[in-house]
Amino acid sequence: MHDFSTLIGGIAGDGINEAGVTVSRLFNQLGYRIYMYYDYPSLIRGGHNFSLIRASDRKIGAHVNTVDVIVALNQETFELHKERLKDSSFVIYDLDKVKIENLAQKGCGLPVSAILKDFSAPMIMRNTCIIGGFCKVVGIGWPVLEKVLKKHIPKQLDLNLKVARKGYDAAVEFTRIERVDQPSFPILTSNQAIGLGLIKAGLAAYIAYPMTPSSSLLDFMAKSAADFGLKVVHPESEIAVILMAQGFAYEGVKAAVGTSGGGFCLMTEGLSLAGMAEMPIVIMLGQRTGPSTGLPTYTAQADLHFALNAGQGEFPRFIVSPGDAEEAYYWSGVALNMAWKYQVPAFILSDKTVSEGLYSFDAALAGDMNEEAPVLWDGKGDYNRYKYTETGVSPLAFPPLKGQTVKVDGYTHDELGITTEDPRAIASMSDKRLLKGLALAKEMDGYETVRVYGNGKTALLCWGSNKGVCTEVAEKLGLRVIQVLVLSPFPEKRLRDSLVGVERIITVECNSTGQLSRLARSYGFELREQILKYDGRPFSLDELEAEIRKVIA
């Protein structure tokens, strides 16, 4: 099996994320599937940033702690990560910034500063130079790097090429990465996949207030607005965000919002309004470490129960938690379709690991997903926004209508949308909302809301970003993985079916209380064993494997 991990590190401002993406693209050109984890503190300049790029001949969605190459733009990168080196690993470093003595592994120091000086190139090109050296060291041919740079460097291409070539020529070849006979895939973050999935399903407006790890989705949508015919708004607060989404929905404009925990706290009164007023909205909730400001640029899966219970009163909601870019694409589209078909809030419950992780995107694996039509008013008789129907779903219409009004109401209301305190009407409207939840659950029966990998008698039960790491470790250890994709309406029957033949269940989550376990227990599932991680970092393959071995030993 081909499996190669590269760590590139430096200070914030060195362009470490972009350098990692470039390394990913190089492997992609050679037919590898990639996964990149980007680790950065919450600051703009300085501090330590690193990208961990893993390339494999199979689809992957997790990193390993040990690496084959460290590319060090500063001393700190080497000192912090040298424990990751294996005997067979290499170190490539900037000779002017990094001093390494008695290195047990092969090392290649490059005169990066001198090269930049020769060309009067800006400091940001240090990473281009050292990536040139990296290609030589690992035997990636110059034409491959040239192709990648030509396609993806928007500014000062010639200078970048010169600097990269000089770095390439100054290095020595230690190994030769073999080409794998597979096509090259698009490489994208799940936030980008979420954006594309929403757009595919007919999204017409995106509204957000920046907050890590959702900001990159806002940036992507704003940048792509003209290409896709999107209205993108960045208003004064998350409170305005979720209310604006409902203003758009009132006019039939399909809208989504994006945020993280703190921003979602501000959205909860608006969420409850959407529940009562039956406004279709999609919320991308990218989890990060809390409580409060917590650890802004690191991951967590600690807001599941928050998403399930946010907002006063009782109303149905759809919650899906994708585990990689393909699922992010497909299920974001499904979330938008469900929001509109059932006039409910729909959540894409992501986290920093999934949202900002970089994946090889296989469109065939993602599956076919298209915009689905909501129930629309036929124009006959008088229009009633909250008309009772068998499914609880009232036909939608959008102003202006000739001689008819559309009255949306956040108070308890009658069918027309006029406020009422009549006990019968109140109970009936509650029943109507619950009926929509049942209809949504029925539709979800036709979807793969729980995914099963392998058929071992011991199962790892997981959700969201732990899919990638769990499936890979499980395959190695002969375990089954059960991934709960849709968390509301809870897929009780599918989960029960997936457990047939299972004798032992271990839940794997990135929180400190076992939130999926707690949810599943409320449906009668007996769950006792769990592996939890809550230090802001995702599980690595080696780490999870060691934890599982401890549990099953």
């Binding site: 007919g202 792509s224 290409d227 015919g229 208003p235 305005a240 209310l243 202006p400 006029i418």
Partner: protein, 284 residues
């Protein structure tokens, strides 16, 4: 159309003598006359917050969105961006727009978006039975401030002037003719229009007698002048003093609008599938 055609079956639950009746009747008159003049009633959307004022959406047979406390403007802003042909009007209270939703009000003015906000400014919380609001005078003895509030009132018209609103006026619920004129001007104005309506709450803060003595209509003022408008607006600061209270149009200018500048991108105007394909190829 007959203003009466704009009534609904909802039972009116405002207190007898409430200033909101004047606002409701004025809205009916103005909206029906605008309909006659070519602004179709079908294109009107009314957004309200929460408080006594909010009930107006139940009493008017127009498109409406009964939003939550303080949150009229974000909803209204998106409706306007979604369909610029609509006339979007917010009815909001002083607690609603000046306490809970002040940020939205300032941003609406800052954007000068083509929306009208009618402030039902009764200077007291009515539905919660009598607490002070941002425009209550200093020393106001409400249920939450039995010793008298120790905050000076906010001057919303001044906030709107410095915030960037392009139409600013004040009306009074005893003075229907002026109210009609102001509502019509505000609704037909292009840009963010703000009408502060001194709307008397007969139950918790009956100011009829005081207002009747002190209000006057400004005449021959230069409504294009920021400085003149500021002078008039600051001549009464909502406090208990006996200063005369100016009514009328204080300010009206033409200014760039957010809804004008906002790109009208529409999904159906692009071939999305091929755009997605193209983008995915670029990601390789």
């Amino acid at each position: 159309m007959n203003p009466k055609d704009l009534s609904t079956y909802a039972k009116n639950t405002w207190c007898p003598g409430c200033g909101n009746f004047s606002i409701l009747n004025t809205m009916k008159t103005v909206l029906s006359s605008l309909d006659d003049e070519g602004f179709p009633i079908d294109n009107v959307v009314l957004v309200s917050g929460i408080g006594c004022h909010g009930k107006i959406v139940d009493y008017l047979k127009v498109n409406s969105f009964y939003s939550i406390h303080g949150r009229t403007l974000p909803v209204a802003t998106a409706i306007k961006l979604a369909n610029p042909d609509l006339k979007v009007i917010c009815c909001s209270g002083d607690g609603d727009s000046l306490a809970e939703g002040l940020d939205h009000l300032m941003f609406a003015a800052k954007r000068n978006i083509d929306i009208t906000l009618i402030l039902h400014d009764n200077r007291v919380y009515g539905l919660t039975t009598g607490q002070y609001t941002p425009t209550s005078p200093w020393g106001f003895k409400g249920k939450s401030t039995p010793l008298g509030t120790q905050e000076f009132p906010m001057n919303p018209a001044e906030l709107m002037l410095v915030g960037g609103a392009s139409y600013i006026a004040r009306g009074y619920t005893h003075g229907i003719d002026l109210l009609r004129r102001l509502f019509k001007e505000a609704i037909t104005h292009k840009g963010f229009s703000f009408v502060d309506v001194l709307q008397v709450c007969v139950t918790y803060f009956n100011m009829y007698e005081s207002y009747n003595k002190r209000v006057y209509e400004v005449k021959d003022n230069d409504t294009g002048s920021f400085d003149d408008a500021m002078k008039i607006i600051r001549s009464w600061n909502y406090d208990g003093a006996e200063a005369p209270i100016p009514l009328g149009k204080f300010y009206q200018v033409d200014a760039p609008r957010f809804d004008q500048a906002f790109p009208g991108y529409e999904p159906h105007k692009v071939d999305r599938d091929s755009q997605i394909k193209k983008m995915l190829e670029n990601f390789i």
